[in-house]
């Protein structure tokens, strides 16, 4: 066991540990760059090999041939695809994502405007998924095949199988139309000025500027979309947590802990949870990606001015610079999420960071 070895020969062990953890991180970082390059090639190829001409899509029925030719020249569409890709990557390295065909603004500027809204929504959904999913999973494992387990199972089954757009429409119908409890959509009430823009996350910005009115209002608007978006992840996390908890509950060290006279709560949270959490953590990383994907539908239903809606509108109008920008950003965030999970994973489980 490396950790015990460290106690014996700390200098050598630290060297090995450092090298191993360092290579572990490096491998992951190289992987991220590789995936991003792959994503850029695939999205570029797809968006440039479609049979439809983006110039016709953008300019429409009335455009003259000259206007179309001018458009193609402006966006470099008259050059060979390979050359277009090289130009794209060169610009990308200068942090230039090109100009959106639809909004006619720099794509980077659009992303900066719309991404924080999606991030805020996804983070809120993730927080809800963790706060509900983990306790539900533990509860269900501890009371295996008894009423709590059945409740959680039904809850998870419903969450895992309901399409998000249907759930969203029903939620609006119930909580806005019938009960008048929550707003139908948007990030803030009409006529309420957003907080001073620091991060673009309204909740955080309201906190930073001490604006309690927008804080309360933005949280209020966040509840319904975050619950809808987070439901699926909650279900997945609860089920995952349950199964890994079940595995852990019968381990020797749990029995030992109990034998030492620890209270059941202490045993489960202190000894069981930390071990059972590792597989769930992997799922959380993957879930984060599905949250970004689910945001597309949630944002449409809740008129949430985020990246999902931007992406849909861009794709419909064949706005390839915007689609490329969104895809790269989404891929990057997804990879970053998994990278953070990897680190947390290594932190939780010494076997991983030691490469054994």
């Amino acid at each position: 066991m490396p950790r015990r070895a460290a106690l014996v020969d700390s200098k050598a062990a630290r060297r090995i540990l450092g090298v191993n953890f360092g290579t572990f991180l490096l491998r992951r970082l190289i992987g991220i760059v590789g995936v991003l390059v792959g994503v850029s090639i695939i999205t570029f190829a797809i968006s440039h090999l479609v049979t439809t001409d983006p110039a016709v899509a953008a300019l429409g029925d009335h455009a003259t041939d000259e206007q179309i030719a001018q458009f193609r020249a402006e966006y470099g569409l008259d050059k060979p695809v390979l050359e277009q890709y090289v130009i794209y990557v060169q610009n990308l390295l200068r942090a230039d994502l090109g100009t959106s065909i639809r909004t006619r603004r720099p794509v980077a500027q659009d992303l900066i405007q719309f991404f924080p809204a999606t991030l805020e929504l996804s983070m809120a959904a993730l927080v809800i998924a963790l706060l509900i999913g983990i306790p539900a999973g533990i509860w269900s494992a501890v009371y295996r095949n008894r009423l709590p387990d059945h409740i959680v199972r039904v809850f998870a089954l419903v969450g895992g199988s309901l399409p998000i757009f249907w759930l969203g429409l029903i939620a609006v119908d119930v909580f806005y139309n019938d009960l008048s409890l929550l707003p139908a959509g948007g990030r803030l009430d009409d006529f309420l000025q957003p907080p001073q823009n620091i991060t673009g996350l309204f909740v955080l910005d309201s906190l930073l500027t001490g604006n309690m009115v927008t804080l309360q209002n933005s949280l209020w608007h966040l509840v319904l979309p975050a619950l809808v978006l987070g439901y699926f992840s909650t279900a997945v996390i609860a089920r995952m947590m349950r199964s890994s908890m079940l595995e852990v509950l019968h381990q020797d060290y749990m029995r030992t802990a109990r034998a030492k006279g620890l209270r059941e709560f202490g045993v489960i949270v202190g000894h069981g949870f930390r071990n059972a959490f590792i597989p769930t953590l992997t799922i959380i990383g993957i879930t984060f990606g599905s949250l970004l994907a689910g945001a597309v539908l949630t944002e449409t239903i809740f008129t949430w001015p985020g990246l999902g809606r931007y992406a849909t509108a861009s794709a419909i109008s064949l706005d390839f610079p915007a689609v490329m920008g969104v895809t790269l950003l989404a891929a990057f965030v997804y990879l970053l999420g998994n990278f953070v999970v990897d680190i947390a994973y290594a932190w939780l489980d010494p076997r991983i960071r030691h490469g054994s």
Binding site: T51, T52, D53, P54, V56, A57, G60, D61, H62, T64, D65, Q67, R102, T103, R104, Q113, F114, L169, V172, D173, Y176, N177, S180, L181, L182, P183, A184, G185, G186, R187, D189, D190, F191, L192, V213, W220, T300, I301, F302, T303, P305, R309, Y310, A313, L318
Partner: protein, 604 residues
């Protein structure tokens, strides 16, 4: 907006009392009290509405305080005895809502207009050419001339109170005399220099709508001259239509911009377009308060406008999902919903407090027939196709009345519109025509159609299926090829279509915007796409476009549209109407077929 519950009469009284208190407070802050303050709820509501614009500025400062007070009150109330608490929970949100309303949060003088506005690129009138930008700018800028309400046939004065078209030998000369006393929202007076600047900057910027000046009216920057501070002279080449230019001036592109203000914000020779992206400097009844992309546009009354709007503000709210528009309209959170489907309109108008309005459009749905594809090259075959289609079935059953049967190429609403509709399904006549053409048993052909929903609320696929089954009656087997509109257009533009089902809307409200593209093969538009090269029709079209006498012009278009009806490569199916759902207290909403409404005439 949250916490809006059913209000009891008691709650209304309380809310009214609080409303009066706050209105009085706000008035005191402004230093004026109207004489008609009466302690009734109705009067309080009226007063609040009347004073809203004035009070608003003063009140914005105290708004947070009032709001905070309302919240504190709500918090304190909840600690009271259970009975009181029950009443309080019902009342508090209403009170808070009223407080916010009076405190400039949401004044009663606001029209909330729900629409999908993600198409806005810029609100600069020289750049805006998308639906939502046009709706907005129409209410912010004025042109030299205008159409009023939904009328598109009678030009009325706007910034110019007189105009004159002179045949100056080798060119047209148009002279405009500006109205006295016109002022921009910035306070600057309107001069001929502003008109010259506005037209020149649109030509120089050369964005989406600029072709109307450059290609249609054939203007250059030198065509526009300020003769004196009140007179503008525009010269046009003889082959361009002065009538067309006048109708272009009614459109957003013709909006006159304050040249001093625009120049003050000019950056890198952009003629101020960076600033005009989300600011305004026009003479229209409203001015732009702000535009947040994909969230909202807020318009506020322009104090210098010659016509004062009935409502102090218009909030154009981005709600892309029609379901959301529907539920927020039902709740009364929005006043007008623009993008509901006919089924949704049917549902929503059954609810109390909701009604609907119909607006005309200038769109024409048609089937184009490529005359290089056999047997469509035969006029009789094309006539047979026109004869076998069940037009009444399309408008009555498929569109449930949201479209009118229209068969000529100038849409209803424009000068020269020809209401003749000789075709309705006649299977025997169609069979006879096919027999004459030598294709008695019918033939096989491809029918291209876009994906998705078509304006008027019908799916393109359903429309295509209907036409397919009609054609099948005489043995014409149409194979439907449904592709994305952009892909369909790519094919169609390259003369690769066979039968193509698509729609067309004019670029400017003049018959030439349709007749030109539909008759002139050289214009490389619709006639070209269907490979219909009829020199005579094209010549007649050009002559009609240049005719300056409206009566003679209309007569020329009557002859020409009758000719195209039977000789052309088109089967025009119908002209759709557009439906809007409104709260029933919204008065004065009238949709102009060019795609906008005069918000300033709306009250509620």
């Amino acid at each position: 907006m949250q916490n809006k519950r059913k209000t009891t009469p008691r709650a209304l009284v309380l809310a009214g009392v609080l409303g009066i208190l706050i209105a009085a407070l706000a008035l005191a802050a402004c230093g004026g009290v109207p004489a008609n303050v009466q302690p009734t709820i109705q009067a309080a509501a009226q007063t609040a509405q009347a004073v809203a614009p004035t009070v608003q500025a003063a009140v914005t400062n105290i708004a947070p305080t009032v709001q905070a007070a309302a919240q504190t009150a709500q918090a304190q109330v909840t600690q009271l005895a259970p009975t009181v608490q029950a009443i309080a929970t019902t009342v508090a949100p209403t009170v808070a809502a009223v407080a916010t309303q009076a405190a400039g949060g949401q004044p009663s003088g606001t029209l909330t207009y729900a629409s999908n506005i993600d198409d806005i690129v810029s609100l600069d009138p020289a750049i805006a050419y998308e639906f939502s930008g046009v709706v907005t700018d129409h209410n912010v800028y004025e042109g030299l001339v205008q159409f009023i309400g939904s009328d598109l046939a009678n030009l009325k004065p706007a910034l110019a109170d007189k105009w004159d078209i002179k045949d100056a030998g080798d060119k047209w000369e148009l002279t405009f005399t500006l109205r006295d006393g016109a002022k921009f929202s910035t306070g600057n007076p309107v001069t001929a220099d502003d008109v010259v600047f506005s037209i020149q900057r649109a030509i120089a910027l050369n964005k989406s709508p600029a072709f109307l000046y450059i290609d249609i009216a054939k203007l250059t920057q030198d065509s526009v001259v300020a003769k004196d501070p009140k007179t503008v002279v525009i010269t046009m080449p003889k082959d361009a239509s002065p009538q067309a230019l006048l109708t272009i001036f009614t459109f957003t592109l013709g909006g006159i911009v304050d040249s001093k203000e625009a120049k003050a914000h000019e950056k890198d020779g952009d003629f101020g377009s960076g600033w005009l992206l989300d600011h305004s400097a026009g003479t229209g009844p409203y001015m732009i308060d702000h535009w947040t992309k994909d969230v909202e546009v807020l318009l506020k009354a322009n104090p210098n406008a010659s016509v004062q709007p009935k409502l102090a503000q218009v909030l154009i709210k981005h709600i892309p999902e029609s379901n959301n528009q529907q539920s927020q309209l039902e709740k009364g959170d929005v006043d007008v919903a623009q993008n509901l489907t006919p089924e949704q309109i049917g549902d929503v108008t059954k609810k109390p407090g909701v009604t609907f309005a119909k607006g005309n459009s200038l769109l024409l749905f048609y089937v184009g027939m490529n005359v290089t594809v056999k047997p469509l090259d035969n006029e009789k075959v094309r006539e047979a196709i026109r004869t076998v289609i069940d037009y009444d079935g399309i408008t009555k059953d498929l569109l449930s009345g949201n479209g009118t049967k229209w068969q000529t190429v100038i849409p209803n609403g424009l000068l020269g519109a020809n209401p003749d509709a000789p075709f309705q399904q006649d299977i025997e006549a169609a069979k006879a025509l096919l027999k004459e053409a030598g294709v008695e048993g019918g033939f096989e052909i491809e029918l291209g159609v876009p994906t998705g929903a078509a304006p008027g609320g019908v799916a393109w696929a359903d429309l295509a299926a209907k036409v397919q089954s009609d054609l099948d009656q005489v043995g014409i087997k149409a194979n439907i090829k449904q592709v994305a509109q952009a892909e369909l257009l790519t094919n169609y533009r390259a003369q690769k279509g066979q039968l193509t089902m698509i729609l067309w809307g004019p670029d400017f409200p003049d018959p030439d915007a349709n007749v030109g593209p539909w008759t002139d093969y050289a214009a490389k538009s619709i006639a070209y796409r269907n490979a219909w090269d009829d020199k005579d029709a094209a010549a007649q079209g050009r002559a009609a476009a240049l005719e300056t006498d409206p009566a003679k012009r209309a007569a020329a278009y009557k002859t020409l549209t009758d000719y195209i009806l039977h000789k052309g490569p088109y089967a025009v199916l119908y002209q759709p109407t557009q439906l809007f759902a409104l709260r029933d207290n919204v008065k004065g909403f009238e949709w102009n077929p060019m795609g906008y409404a005069d918000f300033w005439t709306i009250s509620k």
